[in-house]
Amino acid sequence: MLVTFYLNNTQVSYDVRPDEYLSQTLRSHGIKSVKVGCNESTCGSCTLLLDDKPVMSCSVLTASIEGKHVTTVEGIQEEAAKISYYFAEEGADQCGFCNTGYALVVYSLKRTIKNPTEEQIIDYIVGNLCRCSGLQSQLNAIKAYLKEE
């Protein structure tokens, strides 16, 4: 079936199977920034923004996003670079596999909640697992990015 949606603000139409998931569709069309860590909505690596909200793309049927806006890290390159600066400042980046998901969640957080509390920040990012870092350095990096004007 043909599904038309906006991928980083460009309208695209992809022919997909009715049981195809968005992470699969995007990776098969060369959007390799979408990382699949568990493929069962538990790790958050495949997070992208669907109509500006972070969702796990391994659990979104592509057929269900007709007309919607999908943002991957390709669509927020400058912000991803900024976020990465703060991660590097804190030594928070290691293997990088969870980082694209983090970039999108953190980007969304900054635009959704003004001056979030620590509890709100943690609540927002807790769905993104990271096995490399001590997590604290990530949290510090994210706080620093959120403070940036």
Partner: protein, 775 residues
């Protein structure tokens, strides 16, 4: 080659990881990102039984399915035993695995392989394979494995490469015994003896990128494999031997790796990709599902460790006896080496003993195989030793910090264990040229407020805070066995290509090797163009394991940079018509009296104008010692006495890893290790059902720490300089993971009086203990 740390400009200075930004921006650089678009998709049919013999297997229906290109069973693959462990040659692990076999030895073991045009067809084809199993009685309790009537490896053709105590008829993968002095005699002399047994679980690596590999033939019809691996050179060698190919026909490339932690120091799908591509001529790929990562790769070796320690009333520890039993699961990857580290990287902590003894067996069971996992052996041993030392301190009526200060390793001291025990073989004697453990203990105590708060502080009628500590050591590579190498090539314009075999698996070795080279050549990191881990293009390296990269590969890079510097000065001297000893080089300009030439000009001249030649250097390094990093760790936990639930309010570490080449990345290694260790100590439980099915096979059943569990980590480093390390560095990749089980165990005991002897330390176990104490 002692270096003044204060003069360093790149090393030991804050340096951003060189690939962090690109990865955050989503560049395609992980293994599956680089699979050929039209790769055949490989899926594995896995055993539903913990132990069975394949009576018959019929793949004809699967082969007929449109889109299926290849189906393989044990009848179709080379019958050559090998070890999947990515280790040096000859391997210290038993050769007890066939690519496919007529026996299956755990739920998840490989029965057959399908390669098809896409995932759907491959999965459909798996369902069409008809297998008749003769179900055998499995061994699911490792304490009953030895000489069990069920023999897990009854087959012919399996072997040890040199004596490792391999005795498959008794379900023994490896065994080991050592003794210094007479332990029983010393124990008998002791005023106080403690005798405690601890159990640790089969922790899962849970790296975010699942195991992944893919293959294609290049224009020379050579096999090119991308693999998410920690050991590309070992993979090439083992694959060549097993498939009967010359090494020259295989190229392994390690792209970015999404976390390894030892889990990628072994074969996963590489053999199947190779066979598929060799037999079909087509590119292929295999990406593990999360369930396969949990249920069909490797885990940490579960162990039972009995510690007996004898001490005198004044607190002098005079004897330690450590008996261990390790469960290697269905296959023996790393069975001996993990086991030996329980002794070799744990017991030397208390080096003033008159006698020390270590030994036991590694047994086969019908569980998911165990393999390498960060801190292997050390974390299990540390839990048992450091919890027992706390118990001893209580019996002696001593502060456990004081007991440790009195008995632990100090600078310029040694332990006889170093010479006796290596990894799989004999060890290497060494003196601790750098050991700031006394400082680490003292500083950590200050940071946690030990002297005022230990053992506990009451918060309310139902809440109490407990304080616990432990010390730990690791190593830095395996002496005389692990080798790393580095090539440096000068480009026009004065940049340098640096190629290393060293394997960056996320720990940041590309960045810190670039820093080492940049420091020596007095340039900046962005002038160092580093490329790593490609068996065709980079020089050899043993790979990322045994905390070796900073020390071994870093030393190789440092040596190469020093040679390059000497060479450049020689070249410039010749160019300027001067003697090398009169030429100064500041990274950009060569100066001799009144003459000058820039590196820029010199490099362009060599390639285009005058005396045309390529300037390049290759150096390699192997360790003659394995200087251990040391750590003291402390935790503050708050326990709810009514439910047993607890929060880890603060985890304090002070680490001696010599010079931190990259202070931020070093902290990342320590804290990342701590959090994984806390996962093992507190949350990560492994559950099987009675038939040997792994129940904790996804992130809903297997709980790794999240942002909500980690409240505060306080991480400091001791000022330390290791004379044999690059710019004074030792390793730091594993030391962080070692302490949490013991520290949390001790802290919980101090809070509640409950000693948990089986990991993980769950609220349920604590509450049960609290209720028993009340009785």
């Amino acid at each position: 080659m002692a270096v003044d740390k204060k003069k360093l400009k790149v090393v030991n200075n804050k340096t951003h990881s060189i690939d962090g930004q690109g990865l955050m921006q989503g560049r395609s650089y992980y293994t599956d990102d680089l699979a050929e678009q039209n790769s055949l998709v490989i899926k594995i049919l896995r055993s539903p039984h913990a132990f069975a013999h394949i009576k018959s297997i019929d793949v004809s229906e699967a082969q007929k399915l449109n889109g299926v290109e290849l189906v393989l069973t044990y009848k179709d693959v080379p019958h050559v035993s090998f070890s999947r462990a990515g280790q040096g040659y000859p391997e210290p692990s038993p050769h007890d695995k066939f690519i496919l076999d007529e026996y299956v030895r755990y739920v998840g073991d490989e029965v057959a392989m399908v390669a098809a045009i896409n995932e759907r067809v491959a999965e459909e084809a798996l369902k069409l394979i008809k297998v008749e199993f003769e179900v055998l009685e499995p061994v699911l309790d490792f304490e009953t494995a030895y000489e069990n009537k069920s023999v897990i490896h009854p087959e012919d053709g399996i072997k040890e490469m040199f004596p490792i105590g391999f005795d498959p008829k008794k379900n023994v993968a490896a065994s080991y015994e050592m003794e210094v002095g007479d332990v029983e005699k010393e124990l008998a002399k002791s005023d106080v003896i403690v005798d405690e047994t601890f159990y640790s679980q089969a922790q899962a690596h849970a790296m975010l990128e699942t195991h992944s590999s893919n293959a294609r033939l290049d224009t020379h019809n050579r096999l090119v494999i991308y693999s998410s691996t920690q050991t590309p050179f070992h993979m090439r060698r083992i694959m060549a031997t097993t498939l009967g190919l010359p090494v020259s026909k295989i190229r392994f490339i390690k792209p970015r790796v999404g976390g390894g932690f030892g889990g990628k120091q072994a074969f996963h799908g590489e053999m199947f990709c190779a066979l598929t591509t060799l037999r079909t001529g087509k590119p292929s790929k295999l990406v593990y599902t999360r369930e396969e990562v949990f249920g069909a790769s490797y885990t940490r070796h579960p162990m039972r460790i009995r510690m007996r320690i004898g001490a005198m009333k004044d607190g002098r520890i005079n004897a330690i006896d450590c008996r261990s039993l390790s469960d290697t699961g269905a296959y023996g990857e790393h069975s001996l080496t993990v086991f030996m580290i329980v002794g070799s990287k744990v017991l030397p902590l208390y080096n003033k003993v008159d006698a020390v003894k270590f030994g036991g067996r590694v047994v086969y069971t019908n569980h998911v195989p165990a393999g390498a996992y960060r801190g292997y052996g050390a974390i299990q041993g540390n839990y048992a030793l450091e919890a027992t030392v706390d118990i001893l301190a209580e019996k002696l009526g001593m502060d456990p910090k004081v007991l440790r200060e009195k008995n632990s390793m100090k600078e310029k001291e040694t332990s006889p264990i170093f010479e006796i025990m290596g990894e799989g073989t004999k060890g290497t004697a060494m003196i601790m040229e750098s050991c700031k453990l006394p400082y680490c203990i003292k500083r950590g105590a200050e940071l946690i407020g030990w002297d005022k708060k230990w053992p506990r502080v009451k918060v309310s009628d139902t809440k109490v805070r407990g304080y616990g500590m432990a010390i730990a050591m690791q190593g830095s590579g395996i002496p005389f066995m692990d080798m790393g190498s580095c090539s440096i090539k000068l480009n026009d314009g004065g940049s340098y290509n640096v190629t290393v075999g060293a394997t960056d698996i996320g720990q940041g070795s590309d960045t810190l090797i670039a820093q080492i080279v940049a420091e020596e050549l007095q340039t900046t990191v962005d002038n160092i163009l580093i490329y790593s881990s490609d068996t065709d293009l980079t020089p050899f390296d043993c790979g990322a394991y045994a905390s070796s990269t900073t020390y071994i590969s870093g030393n190789a890079a440092w040596r190469a940079a020093i040679k390059m510097r000497e060479r450049l000065i020689k070249e410039a001297a010749e160019y300027l018509g001067e003697k090398p000893e009169n030429v100064e080089f500041d990274g950009k300009i060569f100066t001799s009296k009144d003459k000058q030439v820039s590196l820029y000009d010199l490099s362009v001249q060599f390639l285009y104008n005058k005396n045309l030649h390529q300037v390049s250097i290759t150096e390699s390094y192997y360790g003659h010692v394995s200087p251990p990093p040391f750590m003291a760790a402390y935790a503050e936990v708050e326990v709810d006495l009514e439910t047993g639930e607890y929060d880890i309010l603060n985890y304090v570490t002070v680490t001696d890893c010599g010079t931190t080449i990259n202070p931020m990345l070093a902290r990342g290694q320590v804290e990342g290790g701590i959090v994984q260790g806390l996962g093992m100590a507190c949350f990560e439980d492994v559950k099987y059902d009675k038939k040997g099915n792994l129940l904790s096979n996804n992130f809903l059943g297997y709980h790794i720490p999240t942002h909500k569990e980690i409240h505060k980590l306080t991480s400091e480093f001791a000022d330390s300089y290791e004379p044999t390390g690059p710019f004074g560095a030792k390793s730091v990749g594993e030391i962080g993971i070692d302490t949490p089980p013991a520290v949390i165990c001790n802290a919980i005991y101090n809070a509640t009086g409950v000693r948990v002897h089986t990991l993980p330390i769950t609220p349920e176990k604590i509450l049960k203990g609290i209720k028993e104490l009340k009785k």
